[in-house]
């Protein structure tokens, strides 16, 4: 039987999975020093994002002041933050529901 429900249920499951398995997010903040080209390069090379996705996140940082760039458990996000600080990007972590 065809129904719209499976899509809805799938969506609910995804949201729950996000809350259970990925309780932390990595935020990259805008600053007037880091070059747009450098930020794009870091997003592509470190996270493996496509050119389009990296540009989108970089523009979000630039225009909106910040962007949620990754999510995961605390340990993973802490290691991402350390990597971003290594690159000189202004990155912080927070709980996913607070972002």
């Amino acid at each position: 039987m065809m129904t719209a429900m499976p899509d809805v249920l799938e969506h609910v499951e995804q949201v729950q999975a996000l809350q259970v398995d990925q309780p932390y997010v990595l935020i990259v903040w805008n600053d007037p020093v880091n070059l747009m080209s450098y930020v794009s390069y870091v997003f592509r090379s470190y996270f493996g994002y496509s050119e389009t996705r990296a540009e989108e996140l970089m523009m979000q940082v630039h225009q909106q002041g910040r962007s949620v760039v990754a999510s995961g458990n605390r340990e993973k996000i802490e290691s991402d933050v350390a990597a971003m600080h290594g690159f000189g990007l202004w990155a912080t972590l927070t709980k996913a529901d607070a972002a």
Partner: protein
């Protein structure tokens, strides 16, 4: 006259005049001094090997007080000062050591007029040059996009009369060099 970075068969190449290389070497070394952790004479080398700070267990372990150092090593968790400090205890020494390694390598690359970066070296060089720009920006009080534009407008070395005007020209030169490298590296990704 400096030649900006471009892709070549063997990596990324640029050439700098002797005075420019001396300037860059000095900048890399200045940032190393900012980042070098205070070492105690009797420090167990194991601390450095595992990337932990020997003061990590102490109560007075704190964030850097110098604003430029703080910009290189920002708080990881601004909502939770205790968690931010815990992050510093566990990660800061390792981040400092990695940055210092990249800066030392970059300073050594300034020994030769033609600079050639391999695919492996280039990201470390880009990070080192970025750290130099962050420190210069802090010294220039570069905080807003308007500040960035004001500093960018300085382009005549013969008209530089103050330390800030000179620093602005240095900042623009380093920015130009990094931008050329990033454009070349993005093309090769």
């Amino acid at each position: 006259m400096a030649r900006a970075f471009k892709s070549s068969m063997r990596g990324y190449s640029a050439s700098l005049e002797a005075a420019e290389r001396k300037l860059m070497r000095g900048l890399f070394e200045d940032v190393i001094v900012l980042l070098e952790p205070e070492r105690e004479a009797d420090e167990d080398p194991l601390w450095a090997m595992v990337g932990l700070d020997p003061n990590a267990h102490k109560d007075h372990f704190a964030a850097p007080t110098d604003p430029a150092t703080k910009r290189l090593l920002p708080d990881a968790d601004p909502d939770d000062p205790l968690a931010a400090l815990e992050f510093r205890r566990l990660s800061e020494r390792g981040i400092r050591e990695r940055k210092i390694g990249a800066l030392r390598e970059a300073a050594m690359l300034m020994d030769s007029a033609s600079i050639l970066l391999s695919d492996e070296t280039a990201p470390r060089f880009a990070a080192a040059i970025n750290d130099v720009r962050l420190v210069l920006a802090e010294r220039l009080s570069l905080e807003t996009e308007e500040d960035a534009e004001r500093i960018h407008a300085h382009d005549d070395w013969s008209k530089a009369e103050s330390v800030d005007e000179y620093l602005a020209l240095v900042y623009n030169f380093v920015t130009w060099l990094q931008e050329s490298l990033m454009q070349a590296m993005l093309k090769s990704l």
